[in-house]
Amino acid sequence: MLLRSHAHQVFEGMTLCAAVVGAKRGFLYLRGEYLALRAQLETVLAERRRLNLLGVAILGRPEFDFDIEIHLGAGAYICGEESALIESLEGKRGTPRNRPPYPVTHGYLGRPTVVNNVETFAAAAAIGLRGGAWFAAHGTEKSRGSKILSICGDCARPGIYEYDFGVTIAQILQDCGASNIFGVQVGGPSGVFIGEREFDRRLAFEDLASGGSFMIFDKTRDVLEIVRNFTHFFAHESCGFCTPCRVGTALLRNALDKLCAGHAAAGDLVEISKLGQFIRATSHCGLGQTAANPILSTLERFPEIYQARLKSVAFEPGFDLDGELSTARRLTGRDDAHAHLQQESV
């Protein structure tokens, strides 16, 4: 939305940043999914060059040279992580770097680099125009300013909303016309799933932080299916660099499939919880560290929903007995009743 309708403001914020830190080159890293925006953004950049807001000696200030290039990504979620983004910008696999050193000293091509999202740059431009006092007058003590939310899911008026930090979840739900709500996923897949009892919580860094994603689920939704979906997402988006995330997210995905298929026992829940906490503690970057959040945050809040899906046996094998016979059936050309095994249940 910012790039579509307020591209000048974003580029203005980047130029301000360049003026402050003395940068000569700027990049807009555009996900491949947003290819359609490119032509329009190039037009904006060309116009800014024509107005001498980009290029050599910007606005006649000697030695203030700065320009912006658009770099297209291939659409990996991990490339939102700043050091993976820089790797991708350099034409490498999008995997997060070891830190320290941080991008502020060793970023793009080993040079000092500032990485921010478009919302931050747009806010910086607004502050440049209206002053810090104006910005600080919005929001809370610890979270100044406003937050743009992308609200979707079960509500009458989904869309893009802007709120001062500190707004309650209940207020947001009322504004977008949501009712009969079971819960909200605040902050995207790596955020937190909150239920009705927590709708008086506030959107702010000190309470519920959000990158902008706000997904609403009403009482017709199956929480476990939501969690299973997120868990598949993380297994798919794991870059594969570190062991805990690469293998752990795939194990969690399989465990959630088993649970949703009705094959899990009480021991599986203990395993899921332990594995989730392990991935959170040992993963290389924020993706792995938050990949188990959908599971852990719902398991903590709605244990009864998980319990209800369990089998009442102490142990369920991790494999599908009948599925294991499929090769033998194919080889022997049999598919009669005796060529099948039932998973035993007590």
Binding site: N98, T243, L251
Partner: protein, 244 residues
């Protein structure tokens, strides 16, 4: 007069030199921190996460994290060794590791680390992935079933051999080792059995042909000493030169 910089490692003060990682400082002080993707001759990689230590209460990779004066580092704790055992189990279930029939058995660092960490079973459901072996090279066998994606061969081929034979492709659990040749086969690449990349594999994924079972089981590297003693006694010149 110079003031010696020190870190506290499990409560013991150990010195470090400027530019040291925690791994380097610990190794010099004779303290083993389990690792697989780390190799003292190469830039630290930080991907296997076995060397996870607690630095001032935060989990960090010892192989990449710089030592700093006054750091409180925890290494040999029940919690960290438990996490390392889990990581080792994840590596075992991710690939196809059949130690009894593997010619690297006894010389394999994955196996040795598993013994060191007292790993008794794989614990997690096995993935049994279908991975393509590559026997196209007359002198080298590439058995991807055993690959743990440490990228040591990638780094060795690029940095030492100057050939850039290996790379990783795919994402997540589908990450796999690929060969840089038109056919994708090792036989069509520039690789030679004398390359560093052929010597550096910590597991049995890259094996020089014609040397299998030269040393009988029972007399191999980790039959004689455990992985911690071996890592601490490394002479850089002979690292990796230990085929079965």
């Amino acid at each position: 007069m110079s003031i010696q910089n020190t870190i506290s490692l499990d409560g013991v003060q150990i010195p470090f030199q400027d530019g040291d990682t925690i791994m380097e400082a610990a190794t010099r002080a004779g303290v083993y921190i389990p690792h697989l993707c780390h190799h003292p001759e190469f830039e630290p990689h930080g991907s296997c996460k076995l060397c996870t230590v607690k630095v001032n209460g935060r989990n960090c990779s010892a192989c990449t994290f710089p030592a700093a004066d006054g750091q409180q580092v925890l290494n040999d704790t029940e919690e960290l060794n438990g996490a390392r055992r889990t990581i080792t189990q994840l590596l075992f279930v991710e690939g196809n590791h059949f130690c009894p029939s593997c010619e690297k058995s006894g010389n394999c660092q994955l196996q040795a680390v598993a013994y060191f960490l007292n790993m008794l079973d794989p614990h997690f459901p096995l993935f049994y992935p279908h991975r393509q072996p590559d026997a196209s090279h007359p002198e080298i066998l590439l058995d991807r079933d055993r690959c743990i994606l440490c990228e040591l061969c990638v780094r060795a081929s690029r940095e030492v051999d100057g050939k850039n034979v290996f790379g990783l492709a795919g994402r997540g659990i589908d990450t796999h080792l690929v060969v840089n040749s038109a056919s994708g086969l090792l036989g069509d690449s520039a690789m030679a059995a004398t390359d560093k990349a052929a010597q550096v594999c910590p597991v049995g994924a890259i094996l020089v042909k014609g040397h299998g079972f030269e040393k009988p089981i029972g007399e191999r590297q980790f039959d004689r000493q455990d992985v911690s003693e071996w890592c601490l006694s490394w002479e850089p010149a002979v690292i990796g030169d230990q085929h079965g």
